[in-house]
């Protein structure tokens, strides 16, 4: 800790000159408040507690000039602030809007900074170099009350308790408690309508048999032939939901095109604890070396948006969970506990990519009822 070293080297100039008035106080020239010894009720002392003038009037005068200069500077900066406010246009009437804003910000901000800093520094000079230096000492009084006061306090409390009868009348006490507790619980009840109950809504998305995959941004459906450059990844959303953030927060999908033979998706079932085993990954869910995965990271739900073409790794930028696109988006690294769910896809009569069904497991982060 550097402050310790600093503490060891006290040059004489770092200690404020102490002014000793009357009889020198005992310790190192610190002024002790003559009116504030242990006897709190003493009349105000006859001599000043703090001196009226700086012992070095020449230096005080010089510093006064510096402080005055700073205060004047601050006043000028305030005028400058108003001038910049009135004089500098913002908006996009004359050229680039960002440039105009940054110009205005620079002028207003500089004026404000100068106005505030000049006052601040001027005041520091005032208190440190113009006012007489002083160091005083004040006695601390014990925090704990006198034993008699404590006893009197306890007595008051007990008297009141006895008069309230609460200690003697359990019926009164208990029924009162029964009346008050529900009031305390009321907020829990009236807050119920903050939102609907979750039900099973987190378990499914809007994808269903035949829903077209549309390209995020253009909202156009896509055929395997449109998406024929191996190594590419694009984001797709269910047709007709481009403006629905709640739907997109679960149903957004990435599709990846691979070279023939690169996809090695195992046939994988869930553990079947909650009913029949369901299929989670399958080669049959791909079309033409195109595979579709949920874009919603199974860690805490960021879009797993990065794709490394050469290694076929999908990376979530939030906490770097890494998924292997070749083998069913299995987790290679990071805090995500599960593969990105695979969306079964096929092509419809017109040749567009469509879903075969919804995802076969809930997408996104873990939740209690996920099972």
């Amino acid at each position: 800790m550097s402050d310790n070293d600093a503490d060891l080297e006290i040059g004489p100039e770092e200690r404020r000159p102490h002014r000793v008035i009357g009889t020198p106080p005992p310790a190192a020239g610190i002024l002790t408040d003559p009116g504030r010894g242990d006897g709190e009720d003493e009349a105000p002392a006859a001599e000043p507690w703090i001196p009226a003038d700086n012992p070095d009037p020449v230096s005080a005068k010089n510093w006064e000039r510096v402080a005055a200069l700073l205060f004047t500077l601050s006043a000028l900066a305030s005028v400058g602030f108003v001038a910049a406010y009135v004089g500098l246009e913002i908006g996009n009437k004359n050229g680039d809007v960002v440039d105009a804003t940054l110009r205005s910000n620079l002028a207003l901000g500089t004026a404000l900074s100068v106005a505030m800093l000049a006052i601040g520094i001027g005041m520091v000079i005032w208190v440190r170099y113009i006012m007489p230096p002083v160091e005083v000492s004040e006695a601390r009084h014990p925090l704990a009350s006198d034993p008699e006061d404590r006893a009197a306090f306890a007595e008051t409390i007990l008297e009141g308790a006895a008069a309230s009868q609460l200690t003697k009348r359990p019926l009164l006490r208990r029924t009162l408690l029964a009346a008050v507790l529900p009031v305390a619980a009321a907020p829990l009840i009236v807050l119920r309508d903050l939102g609907p109950l979750p039900g099973t809504s987190l378990r499914s998305t809007v994808w269903k048999k035949g829903t077209r995959l549309t390209v995020y941004g253009s909202n156009q459906p896509i055929t395997p032939a449109d998406f024929n450059s191996p190594g590419a990844m694009i984001t797709v959303i269910p047709e007709g939901y481009a403006d629905n953030d709640e739907v997109l927060a679960k149903a957004t999908v990435i599709i990846i095109k691979m070279e023939p033979g690169q996809l090695k998706i195992p046939t994988r079932y869930n553990d079947g604890v909650n009913g029949p085993h369901t299929l989670l990954n399958s080669m049959n869910w791909t079309v033409d070396n195109i595979v579709a995965y949920s874009k919603i990271c199974t860690h805490v739900g960021c879009p797993a948006a990065l794709y490394e073409q050469t290694t076929h790794k999908i990376l979530c930028p939030c906490h770097q969970s890494t998924f292997d696109a070749e083998t069913g988006a299995t987790v290679l690294f990071g805090p995500a506990p599960r593969p990105l769910p695979q969306l079964p896809i096929t092509v419809d009569a017109e040749g567009y990519l469509v879903a075969q069904s919804d995802f076969q497991e809930p997408v996104g982060p873990s939740f209690w009822e996920r099972g």
């Binding site: 800790m1 402050d3 310790n4 006290i10 190192a28 610190i30 000043p48 406010y85 908006g91 996009n92 960002v98 804003t101 207003l108 901000g109 900074s113 000049a118 601040g120 520094i121 001027g122 005041m123 520091v124 005032w126 208190v127 006012m131 002083v134 005083v136 000492s137 004040e138 601390r140 014990p142 925090l143 704990a144 807050l191 903050l194 939102g195 609907p196 109950l197 987190l202 959303i237 709640e246 997109l248 927060a249 604890v273 909650n274 860690h299 805490v300 739900g301 930028p317 939030c318 987790v331 690294f333 990071g334 805090p335 995500a336 982060p365 873990s366 939740f367 009822e369 996920r370 099972g371």
Partner: protein, 574 residues
Amino acid sequence: MSTTQHRPLQMPKPLAKQGGELDDRFHAAKGVRTLLRKVFPDHWTFLLGEIALYSFIILILTGIFLTLFFQPSMSEVVYHGSYTKLDGVRMSQAYASTLNISFDVRGGLLMRQIHHWAADVFLAAIICHLLRIFFTGAYRKPRETNWLIGLGMFTLGIFEGFLGYSMPDDLLSGTGVRIAEGVLLGIPVVGTYLSFFLFGGQFPGNEFVARFYIIHVLLIPGLLLALVSAHLFLMVHQKHTQMPGAGRTNNNVVGQPMYPYFAIKTGAFFFFVFGVLALLGTFAQINPIWQVGPYTPVAISAGSQPDFYMGFLEGSLRIFPNWTWDIGGHTIAWNVLIPALVILGFLFTVLGVWPFVERWATGDKSYHNVNQKPRNAPTRTGVGMAGVVFYGIMWLEGANDLIAVHLQIPLYTLTEVARYAVFIGPVIAFWITRRICIGLQRRDAAMLEHGVETGIIQQLPNGGFAEAERPVTPEEAAELIELPPPSVTEVRSDTDENGLPAPARRGLAGRVQARAHDYFVEGISLAPPANGHTNGHGTNGHGTNGHNGHGEVESGERAAIGSGPSGDRADDEA
């Protein structure tokens, strides 16, 4: 006692009359005079709390300005404002109005940037302030309550900052909210309900900006104001601690009076903090929300970083392994639960119980108005540094992608290393810090005994060279010597007259406490060489100080406190 020394001071008539009228009604003369003459000690580290206070005030001022223009609504609009790059884009009103504040309100961008910088400075100052309090032991009796209030403000500040950051509804902030949703979902049993109640249904819903807004501008600022008031009231009531130094004892406060000195100094500091925040708001761009676009759950901007005070949580989410349990049809997301909630809860719990643990271990029930130098409490300082390293590693991991890129280290390696480092690092930090503290204590003790090296090399009569030494001045000694605590500690580390363990050390609990005691108070005794006061607290209880020594310690302490009233009281309590 000559009154001729100064001219008598005369209150101007009109003021005297006004003052009289006021005092007629409020009986204020005596109380206010006491307040005006209140003494404030001076040390640069005492400014940290003031930085936090003034940032908070500036947050309120700039925040009120922002509320006049910000629209806390998630209703969708198609943007046709000044920022043509987003012309025709669908966005929430919240985001559109933040664009308006930035581009169409004069001074709006400045206010936003000052507000955001003030939030960062507020939390940074709180953290530094907290560390100062911790490392100097300023939380000890009677100031435990203010320590807890401080922790409460720290927690509220983190939430407040997160809510504010989330309100503009841009791509960056929305990502943060999404992560918060993921964390909520990870809470067992009630997680999905909490999330649905917060968002009014499925994420993102149409509600959260308005809900965050009212919490951000009313609820938490109100709570913070109440806590700040309580904090300051207690500080004034119990009086400041002071750093050790000449003339400073447990029973006085040495410094400058509130009126006019401290008032001017602290006023100056307000303007200074405001000026620095204005400089930051002018020259250091922060959160240029127009560059990332409105929030959509579909996309994310790469390399996005939260504000620094969330970095710890971000890092902890990044390094924790991907453990989950599926049992009985339920999923327990350890991978989210532990890093986001358990570790955070652990950190704040440790901070919260620390003063009481230390009190239990040292058995020290006395008042402490003079702070300790960190070296004089090696165990506390070691634990503190362990905490700092733990926090620091998590925090750095929150930016591991940037570190990996800049230092050309593979990302996964970095995370793997961090997974071990969070356990090993704090242990090493504890051990090294403790050693350093004890070393510094030895140096202080040597200095007290032999004097200060002057840096002047002198040739000795025998031809050799030696550095000249001068004795320590009384002022230097005052800063080196630990003030003995005004009451005797109860938990003794050694034996009674018959060589048996002292009564307080019998039984399992007693032995545990006694061991903790030894560990806490281990160190070098920094006694003033001249008058022979022994420092019972800093004394290493093993061996060297037999029970005979204790008699001395006790009498020494009594002598040191003299007639100090607080010492007597403390004994009453013990």
